[in-house]
Amino acid sequence: MIRNHIKSDFPIFSYWESRGKPLVYLDSAATTQKPLRVISKVEEYYSQFNANVHRGTYELSQIATDIYEEARSKVARFINGLQPESVIFTRNATESLNLVAYAWGLNNLKEGDEVILSEMEHHSNLVPWHIIARHTGAVLKFIRMNHDYQLDLDSLRQILTAKTKAVSVVHVSNVLGTINPVKEITAIAHDAGAISIVDGAQSAPHIPVDVQDIGCDFYAFSGHKMCGPTGIGGLYGKYDLLEKMEPFLGGGEMINEVFPTTSNYAKPPYKFEAGTPNISGAIGLQAAIEYIEDLGLKNIEEHEVALGDYAAQRLAEVEGIRIFRPHATGTGVISFTIDNVHPHDISTILDAEGIAIRAGHHCAQPLMRKLQVQSTARASFYLYNDRSDVETLARALEKAVAIFSPRKKANVLK
């Protein structure tokens, strides 16, 4: 159970309430709101401990370094990574996936090698591979999605060959909310001699994640989708793989020795953290992890699944609605369309009621084509949402239907 009045932990809700425009925030799959605890921690860092890390020869810098590294340890424990050095701080899951594609892909893929993705990937797990495939001549293949919006693992087994070098899939779909069986997918990939990469942008915030149990070689996530600041994310990688990889970006902090024409590199994770890192972001992320751990990831998951189930049931009453959500493993993400009301118009009508949702292709254009829609509207719930938010949403959707139904319009708009 998530405790009552949880919204009071998040200053943004009282701010909009006080302005007479209560915020019904249903776009947490895009980014989550931040609890005061996280905001205060970032402020505390800048007010008390700000200095550059890993190079200072004075006490303040040592303090900054210690708390930055403590944040790394926290992240490692959060996803049950073997060691803190397996965690690289990045800007977000997108950068983490690019890091793998470039630093691993460019040097491990050759012409004709295969990388397997899925039909429900976010652009962040597609476009980097498009770029790397163009550079290396590697071929991209796709795990199919079935009619219940779940990945068809038989199709994975069918397309795997001796040339498959990597299988990179999304853990939880940002459009459908499907939880993919990444442990099984990893096992299948490993049996074929391929590495396994998991895009955890929508799993780390919402369900307990154990990278050792999954067995994946890489796991990418974003801090801002789990109550943390924007601009901080992470990549977990198996340490022996990280050691063998070339760097991603070059510069300060990532080197061992530099000569005019050559250089050699620091050990992971520092090899992959060129330049001054997002120190305050890492500290804010630690505070965010502590916050959601205090609530309990299992509780958060149960809360969201229950809310998602309730929303799917309540929204089904809206005339002309079509909901894209698996029956088997639905979460707190509900994508939908309404006959004759475009998602962008839905979003505007909801906005006028103080409801924030996303409308568009959700950075998943291939999935939109597969679903045979141009775009969808998406409500995504998090730990601070409750049934009253669902009810407000449902009523506003009924209003949207009425506005676009000419015979009823006169009664709706005054």
Partner: protein
């Protein structure tokens, strides 16, 4: 902001019953425009003779504002010269961005889109058809 200012009868009517919808079979000019963030997609085909738009059609998919704006635009640009269209487009952009409170009567039904100025996130929906038209006029097909 009132939804009444945005979803006017004229907008809903053009959205639900678009004018000049389709593609000209042998256009002299053509362009396709997208709003990347929301997926609006508009194709404009034109038949221009002696600098005058003698036929114009649009097709595509998108929100009410983008589609209604395209439908209205096809009505008002037919018979106009290329130069007149440039001037009209400028007036239209000024109106939907809120820079011009008293829109020119040459804009005809497009004045129904004046309310877009109160919804900044919808401006690019309203302007997509016009930008695509201007792009088409630059490209000899």
């Amino acid at each position: 902001m009132s939804l009444n200012d945005l979803f006017t009868e004229i907008i809903l009517d053009h959205y639900q019953h678009p004018h000049n919808h389709g593609l000209i079979s042998s256009p002299s000019h053509f362009s396709r425009g997208f709003n990347e963030s929301c997926g609006d997609d508009i194709q404009i085909s034109l038949l221009v003779e002696k600098d005058i738009i003698v036929d114009v059609k649009f097709s595509g998919a998108g929100c009410s504002i983008s589609q209604a704006s395209a439908s209205i635009m096809t009505d008002i640009v037919r018979g106009k010269s290329v130069d007149q269209i440039k001037t009209l487009a400028g007036k239209f952009y000024d109106m939907v961005k809120g820079n011009e409170a008293n829109p020119d009567e040459d804009l005809g039904d497009a004045v129904a889109l004046q309310g877009v100025a109160k919804f900044p996130v919808r401006v690019k929906c309203a302007t997509l058809a016009w930008h695509t038209l201007e792009e088409a006029l630059k490209q000899q097909k």
